[in-house]
């Protein structure tokens, strides 16, 4: 049943000349596969992670030292997040270079750009969660950079009401990372797919 459902997401027929890897380099599909891997590994990490200033680092240490495959699981999650950003940026570059952002696909382009921003936000909020020196100082730097933007001070207060790595800021980063941003991303991804399928008559793209 799942196989049939997945098949219906794709066109029934395609042009033979479009069946080459250089057509789109499958970058959108590869990004989506990486995103799904991120969701699965993230769900597994949630079984051990504790979003509190005293528990976060300890839970990661416990995961890495005492859980079978825990270190590999975290490495996979981290590597997938980096790969997702690279793939989405390459996908964006391909769309720009082939002119696929133009009418009537401009809406799909806008949705895709929003997904790119959400992916960056998701990666950034996840960076703080281990609460080690690297994540702490990287987040500190990012939040200082945010201050120079218009409304940056208000945004910083929204994300970090106490201090970097404090109970409230850690909880907000965690909520954004595991619930808000992935849900928004998934919704926009399906809208992205829907718009691509709706434009199926406008070849040369699927």
């Amino acid at each position: 049943m799942i196989g049939e459902f997945v098949r219906h997401l794709f066109p029934r027929i395609v042009l033979r000349r479009n069946l080459r890897i250089t057509y789109t380099f499958c970058l959108g599909g590869l990004s989506f596969t990486t995103f799904l891997t991120l969701i699965v590994t993230g769900l597994l990490l949630m079984f051990y992670y504790r979003p509190s200033p005293t528990g976060a680092f300890e839970s990661i240490q416990f995961l890495e030292s005492s859980v079978w495959g825990g270190r590999y699981l975290r490495s996979l999650h981290r590597f997938c997040s980096h790969t997702l950003l690279v793939l989405i940026m390459l996908h964006t570059l391909r769309v720009v270079l082939t002119g696929a952002y133009r009418h009537p696909r401009h809406g799909t382009w806008v949705v895709g750009t929003l997904i790119l921003f959400l992916a960056v936000g998701s990666a950034y909020t996840g960076y703080l969660l281990p609460l080690d020196q690297l994540s702490y100082w990287a987040t500190q730097t990012g939040m200082e950079l945010l201050r120079v933007l218009p409304l940056g001070e208000q945004l910083r207060t929204l994300f970090v009401p106490d201090h970097i790595g404090g109970p409230l800021s850690l909880l907000r980063f965690y909520a954004l990372h595991i619930a808000v941003l992935p849900t928004l991303m998934l919704s926009l991804i399906f809208l992205h797919f829907f718009r691509i399928r709706r434009s199926k008559g406008v070849l040369p793209y699927l």
């Binding site: 794709f10 029934r12 027929i13 395609v14 000349r17 080690d132």
Partner: protein, 52 residues
């Protein structure tokens, strides 16, 4: 019309290959590049040390 082919199996074969390539790449790369973990965050000490 002769230039058109059914997605199954032609297009889906391409998708399956792409999925396999990215899955193998991610699984192997995650094994080769372990995620770093430094000492616990300390706002008073900006120097960094790895615990892994």
């Amino acid at each position: 019309m002769s230039d058109q082919v059914p997605s199954s199996p032609h297009f889906f074969r391409l998708i399956r290959r792409g999925l396999l390539v990215i899955a193998v790449f991610l699984l192997v790369a995650a094994w080769l590049v372990p995620a770093p973990l430094e000492t616990a965050a300390d706002p008073m000490r900006p120097d960094r040390k790895s615990v892994v």
